[in-house]
């Protein structure tokens, strides 16, 4: 009866590439496929070569589903950089090694720059010279920013002699195409990942159910919290002139929490899936909004990106080894590039510049700040200042234009009335409650999270199943719930 209603053509179209529906860990299709993937993976796990071929095939399909034939770019990059790393290792000529590295960087970065920044260059060129170049109709291959950074770190580490190149090409392709990290990181390094792959230890019960725990946390953050609160944020950021200062401030706070839940939630799912498969992918977010200064924030926010930028941009530029002025210059360049990496728009550059300036100011003031006694009051004000500053800069990250960002900031400072609070809470109660929960959860001590995780791992199977079903039902409930767009529309 049920099978009779299934349309095979529709089923096949669901499995084919669709640029509007990339396969994400929050999609039902992914979990159906993962259900097919898991037993085969478990059976092949002890037979390393077969397991690798199977995971590579699944990863490439995962990439194909989201980016079509662009998955071949990933294969081409992996072949080329694997060969370059072998060449660098075998060559004794310093110039040859340097040329090989340069060619590899041009190849990897060239692909990234073409797909991500071509239209940005065209728009800026048109604006500068009143040109009439048409933007290119480009599909951005999903995850290109992430795998490009992973392959660069591999080749550079081989060049610097920090790691040996991998002998087996399949090891490298497995590392580069590994589907949990493909779409949004974490930016795992070859030196951390390949030894685990070569050792191929079986996944323990703690890793498997600890991974499921992380995946569930990630789903909660991404598919329940972030996706729901995003609705109001999108409306307010999309039309800032229609909202009062109070409503816009709530949208800024909302986006501050949305981006954390979105990004860290997706990272949690990736790390959890890695753990289920027996791989430790590290951590990527460590309660960033607890930070007491901007430097600490960058030690806690998107850790694999910030350490990548430190190791492959900041330190090669000279880091802090060439004097204070040069250190600040290096910091600014690193953060500007970091901003541009997040998106091809000047608003992202301003976001990066803001963080760069704040890092420089913090470094300059650090000797004086260290003399201030650490009390609850000073810690609170340090936190408040850091949180407010980070939230303020998210305006530029999210706004569609500088004009919109300016409108938001202007309204917050010139059209702010607390009188909107009760109406806002009444009409957007669920949204406000959710924001408060996310904020509160951020300050739950780590040992409590660890304890909850241990309890989940030790819990009976049926309890885990019920928790999983409740979570997915929550996702369904909130997926179609909507946030009131206008408090009241008066023409």
């Amino acid at each position: 009866m049920i099978l009779d209603t299934i349309d095979i053509t529709q089923l096949l179209s669901l499995l084919a590439f669709n640029r509007d529906e990339p396969m994400l860990f929050t999609s039902g299709l992914f979990w159906v496929l993962f259900l097919l993937f898991l037993p085969i993976y478990a059976l092949l796990k002890s037979r390393r070569k077969k397991m690798m071929l199977f995971v590579i095939a699944f990863s490439l399909y995962f990439f194909y589903k989201s980016s079509g034939l662009f998955f071949l770019l990933l294969v081409a990059t992996s072949i080329f950089d694997w060969w370059v790393a072998q060449f660098i290792e075998s060559s004794k000529n310093r110039t040859e090694r340097r040329i090989a590295l340069t060619v590899s960087l041009i190849f990897s970065l060239g692909i990234l720059l073409f797909f991500k920044y071509s239209n940005f260059v065209i728009w800026n060129w048109n604006a500068l010279v009143h040109g009439n170049f048409q933007p290119l109709d480009l599909i951005m291959p999903v995850g290109v920013s992430f795998y490009t950074f992973r392959t660069i770190s591999y080749v550079v580490d081989v060049y610097k002699g920090k790691i040996q190149p991998v002998d087996d090409y399949l090891d490298h392709l497995f590392f580069l195409s590994y589907f949990p990290c493909l779409v949004a990181g974490p930016i795992v390094r070859s030196r951390d990942f390949i030894p685990q792959l070569q050792e191929n230890k079986p996944a323990t019960r703690e890793m498997i159910y600890g991974g499921l725990w992380l995946v569930m946390l990630g789903i909660l953050k991404k598919a329940v919290f972030a996706d729901y609160i995003a609705q109001y944020n999108n409306i307010a950021f999309g039309n800032p002139t229609g909202y009062t200062g109070f409503e816009l401030l709530m949208a800024v706070l909302g986006f501050t929490m949305q981006i954390y839940c979105d990004f860290s939630g997706y990272s949690d799912m990736a790390i959890g899936l890695g753990s289920i498969m027996g791989f430790n992918l590290g951590i990527n977010f460590n309660y960033p909004y607890r930070s007491l200064n901007v430097t600490e924030f960058w030690h806690r926010w998107h850790i694999t990106l910030s350490t990548w930028l430190r190791d492959y941009v900041y330190i090669p530029l000279g880091g802090n080894r060439k004097g204070t002025l040069r250190q600040h210059f290096n910091l600014m360049v690193t953060m500007l590039l970091g901003g541009l990496w997040h998106g091809a728009a000047w608003t992202f550059v301003v976001w990066g510049a803001g963080h760069g300036i704040a890092l420089c100011v913090h470094k300059l003031c650090k000797p004086w700040l260290d003399t201030i006694a650490s009390t609850r009051v000073t810690r609170f004000f340090s936190w408040l200042l850091t949180f407010s500053f980070v939230a303020f800069l998210w305006i530029f990250f999210r706004a569609n234009s500088f004009h919109a960002a300016g409108q938001i900031i202007t309204n917050i400072f010139t059209d702010f009335e607390w009188a909107y609070l009760p109406v806002f809470l009444e009409r957007r109660f669920t949204w406000s409650l959710m924001l408060a929960i996310i904020f509160g959860l951020h300050f739950v001590p780590r040992h409590i999270w660890d304890k909850l995780r241990e309890r989940f791992i030790a819990a009976p199977w049926i309890v885990k199943l019920l928790l999983f079903i409740i979570l997915i039902q929550l996702v369904l409930q909130f997926a179609s719930a909507t946030v009131q767009p206008f408090l009241y529309s008066q023409f």
């Binding site: 299934i6 349309d7 898991l38 229609g242």
Partner: protein
């Protein structure tokens, strides 16, 4: 397969089967007054999500409709010059549109009933029986709808709103209608695509590409801009609409509908 993998796999399988089975209750399940939403597996696997594609061999029925219930591309009813009972429903956008349509009605002998449901969407209209009640009360023989502005940013809108939109269209039934799309002030997440897919050929006016002068809220067109918007809709209806009626252009200005009904925003 080792024991923990077996345990995880069965957990995922049982969960998936639970949601697949529940998904056959496509309209959700009511438990103690609370609606338990269901997943879209059944809708995704069945073919009823979107209308059946038109085939070359399909023939038209007596009312000029294909077997999928829609008129073929380019189909137009002959101009109907009789006086109409027009029902105009929608969200706050009607505040600008309806007074101008009332002026057209005055000039052309039609009667207009205007129903503004503030902050409404296809969701609340689709979930309520309000449209059916209005049709029963006012017996319109022509309907204008302007909805979608409160749904520009709804995630996964095609899945979330398609059933509600279909229900509205079913309520309208055979009554000739025009659906005026939202005047986008920002890119939408798919409401216009959804409307174009589901609304009958020649019954949907895409407003998203029009230029508007906006009021202070940045969303609603100014009164003058909304009057021009209504003029464009009427012009399009005469030239390309599936059910053209007599709407000769009146002088500038506005009039008042014979009846105005206002509903407060949905909770």
């Amino acid at each position: 397969m080792n024991k923990p993998y077996w345990g995880l796999w069965t957990l995922l399988l049982v969960a998936l089967l639970t949601f697949v089975v529940l998904s056959f209750w496509q309209d959700g399940i009511i438990v103690g007054g609370l609606e338990i939403k269901t997943a879209s597996f059944a809708r995704d696997l069945g073919a009823e999500m979107t209308s059946r594609p038109v085939k070359d061999t399909d023939t038209l029925d007596a009312s000029g409709r294909l077997p999928n219930g829609k008129h073929p591309k380019g189909w137009r009813a002959p101009m109907d010059s009789t006086a109409k009972n027009i029902l105009f429903i929608g969200d706050s956008m009607l505040e600008g549109l309806a007074p101008r349509l009332a002026k057209y009605c005055d000039k052309n002998g039609h009667k207009l009933v205007e129903v503004i449901w503030y902050s409404s969407s296809t969701l609340c209209w689709g979930e309520s029986a309000r449209l059916t009640e209005l049709i029963k009360t006012y017996h319109p023989d022509y309907i204008f709808v302007c909805l979608g502005a409160n749904e520009l940013y709804v995630p996964d809108i095609k899945r979330a709103r398609r059933p509600h939109l279909k229900k509205m269209l079913a309520e309208i039934g055979d009554i000739p209608y025009v659906w005026i799309g939202p005047p986008n002030w920002d890119e939408d997440t798919g409401i216009n695509d959804l409307l174009q897919q589901e609304v009958d050929e020649g019954c949907f006016y895409l407003s998203a590409n029009d230029k508007f002068d906006r009021s202070r809220d940045g969303a609603h067109p100014t009164r003058a801009s909304a009057h021009l918007w209504m003029d464009r809709v009427v012009k399009w209806l005469g030239e390309s609409g599936a059910h053209p009626i007599r709407l000769d252009k009146p002088a500038e200005g506005i009039s008042r509908a014979s009846r105005i009904v206002i509903y407060q925003p949905p909770k």
